[in-house]
Amino acid sequence: MSRTLVAATRRVLGSRRRGDRAAASPPAGAGDAALVADLVEAIGSDRVRADTASRYLASRDASIYREGNAGPVCYPGSTSDVVACVQVAARHGRAVSPRGAGTGLAGGAAPLGQPVVLAMTRMDKLLGVDLDNGVAWVQPGMVNLDLSRALAPHGVHYAPDPSSQAACTIGGNVANNSGGPHCLAYGVTSAHVVAVEVVLSDGSVVTLGDLTAEPAGYDLRGAFVGSEGMCGIATAVAVRLTRNPPAVRTMLLCFDDVSDAAATVSAIIAAGIVPAAIEMMDQRCVTAVEDFAQAGYPKDAAAVLLVEVDGPAGGVAIASEKVAGIARRNQAISVRTAADEDERARLWKGRKSAFGAVANVMPDYYLHDTVVPRTRLVEVLERIYEIVDRYDLIVLNVFHAGDGNLHPILAYDSRVPGTDERVHAAGREIIEMSLDMGGALTGEHGIGVEKREHMNRMFSAVDLDQQSRLRASFDPHCRMNPGKVLPSAHSCSDIGALRAADAAGVWG
């Protein structure tokens, strides 16, 4: 190793602490010196960080999971950088965990066992727009909203719009098969990913899917989407472009009673109308959001529905009339249509800042995103309020009502002793109730680490065995983002690749 490389490595390891503690403990990550040196040699010192602050922050995402423990953090700039990192990690017997913007809500990006973390944020370019084939090629670190903005001049957009779209990355969306309000009519991420370039755990690069109508072989693209970083690293994504609808109408329906709102949702679907989006918020949530977004939501309504209808103008007019009629028959106290683009944007901004705004109520939140049959929403919401009351907690409901995808947000203050336990117990009951209603564990946030142990409640051993075969076909040695999704009994046999987690975390 050249001397400059040694110096660069030292710089990357960082963390020579000044002051009293300096002598007491070695620089963090010192055990990784050889690994870090190889990474630096492979992709350059400005793309590798192994200091404690970087590792500490790369150990967490937007979930409440805090046991993650990152090894060196790399910021690849190209597919070949990713290949190089994966190869170096393999040589050192270390796992690799990809990371987008870290807005995941299930701990998917929380690395376990000090893997090499690949932060994809610097691969954020739009590679090309191919209007003839109706696709755009993008790098995985591109932010979802930036993509739609870049596409705007072409009169097209990228349809999946998670509420976190201002921050989350396309790579994260692909890995989590993310949804969003408009996925009700347009479908979730998987329906919008045409092909993915992937770096596999052995460092090979393959393109899954292609631009043809029906690629030959198994639908590996489909199998990869939603694999939460466990099947490989996405390094380029061909996304489908959706034509902007000629007409859009956004309505705010307000109700005195949560059940009336829920009944309206079921009735809309039952009437054979598929709006672009049906979102619901209860009073607590509206109050929390309104102060930030000034969207004009009435704070005195027990629940509001945000319904958007789009398509050719004639149908939009008919469908929105029908929706308004259904709402009135279900005792809506007001039906308001956004007058212009400004008002529409404000209404959506309110909806999309809902999770963040929870902090105006309590400093912490924990949420599940189970899905229930949309015909049973009334019943399910009543049960949720009942469970939460029983545990003496506060819940805010804001969710993709149209497809039955709940997001009950339990707001709490973890500084109050005993609260964490109550929150988890209530969360578990909500999950079990949802599954008993014929529901699913997660509709869009993924399993990550947080819901791993609930998988047994939804799937049999045979089912899980089949899922682990899918994973192992991509990554036979379980080197990609290990420890996620599958409950421990079904995780990789050589989970030994996970280094014994350092109890003291990265500061240790």
Partner: protein, 305 residues
């Protein structure tokens, strides 16, 4: 986790734990991906609709049910699925073939239609993939993997499929002597077909919108349905389909699905090159899911045109 439908357990017993086996559906796409190896035992998947929930927009149906029969049932509630209707073709067959209907533009591809699958694995046990809801990301997406797998990874017995409302007005029209660009401005176009000379399009939606699109198209002739499709199905990119006549020397007569990339031609498609990495992954999948190679031997989705 649920107790399985009895028909499913019977089906699993029939498949059994060993010996080469495949499911015969309607036999409409029987030769896709190759011919069945000799000595392969043929079984039939159970048939019948288990539960149709119009307000949920889903239907639970046994794989052996003919698609046409299913759609007749759904039509009562003004709904249908994205599966293609072929005379005698079954739900399971349509899913395993993975070929979309000619109205994919409006109704979506088959691969987005499957919400839950109950299937018999290579070892004879029943597995369940996906969930009973319209949205789900719990674990890896086995449903997508199964669609188009030609029954080489598991034999499907029962599925939950997404349904959607049929357009209030559905009309096929033919535009003589034009190119597909003529239909571009029509937002209700659920299918655009082109044979190099004429364009057929299915307009589907609210009556006002369909009428408006008809007005936009100007001179066109209302027809009963799509033109007769040549025998062979090619798959290419949407751009290639639009420019098809330019290079159709070997294809013979053709009808291209514009905006999709499927072309129906009188000659078969020459085999497409497969990236070695993709071929290797396909092999690994087959090996992991069916270590002894007993499921539908002889068929290989890579060999599908």
């Amino acid at each position: 986790m649920t107790d399985f439908d009895e028909a499913l357990t019977v089906f699993a017993a029939e498949v059994g734990p060993d010996g080469p086996v495949c499911v015969r559906g309607g036999g409409t796409r029987w030769s896709l991906g190759g011919e069945a190896a000799p000595d392969t035992r043929e079984v039939r998947a159970p048939a019948g609709i288990v539960a149709f929930e119009p307000a949920e927009m889903t239907v639970r149906v046994r794989a052996g049910t003919p698609v046409v029969a299913l759609h007749e049932e759904l039509a009562a509630a003004g709904q249908r699925t994205a599966l293609p209707e072929r005379a005698g073709g079954t739900v399971g067959g349509a899913l395993m073939a993975g070929e979309s209907s000619i109205a994919r533009l409006g109704r979506g591809p088959v691969r987005d239609a499957l919400l839950q699958a109950r299937y018999v694995c290579a070892d004879g046990r029943i597995a369940s993939a996906g969930a009973g809801t319209v949205k789900n990301v719990s674990g890896f997406d086995l449903c997508r993997l199964l669609v188009g797998s030609l029954g080489t990874l598991g034999l499907v017995g029962e599925v939950l499929v997404r349904t959607f409302p049929v357009g209030k007005s559905e009309r096929w029209v033919r535009l003589a002597g034009t190119d597909p660009g003529a239909v571009r401005s029509c937002h209700t176009a659920a299918s655009v077909l082109w044979d190099g000379t004429d364009v057929w399009t299915l307009l589907s939606g609210y009556e006002v919108d369909v009428d408006e699109d008809l007005g936009r198209l100007g001179a066109c002739e209302e027809v009963d349905g799509p033109p007769e499709l040549p025998l062979h199905r090619w798959t290419c990119t949407p751009a290639e389909a639009t420019a098809f006549d330019v290079r159709n020397g070997t294809a013979g007569r053709f009808v291209a699905e514009i905006g999709v990339g499927v072309v129906h031609a009188s000659e078969p498609q020459p085999s497409r090159p497969v990236e070695p990495g993709v071929a290797e992954l396909n092999r690994r999948f087959k090996e992991r899911f069916d270590p002894t190679g007993r499921l539908n031997p002889g068929r290989d989705p890579l060999r599908r045109p």
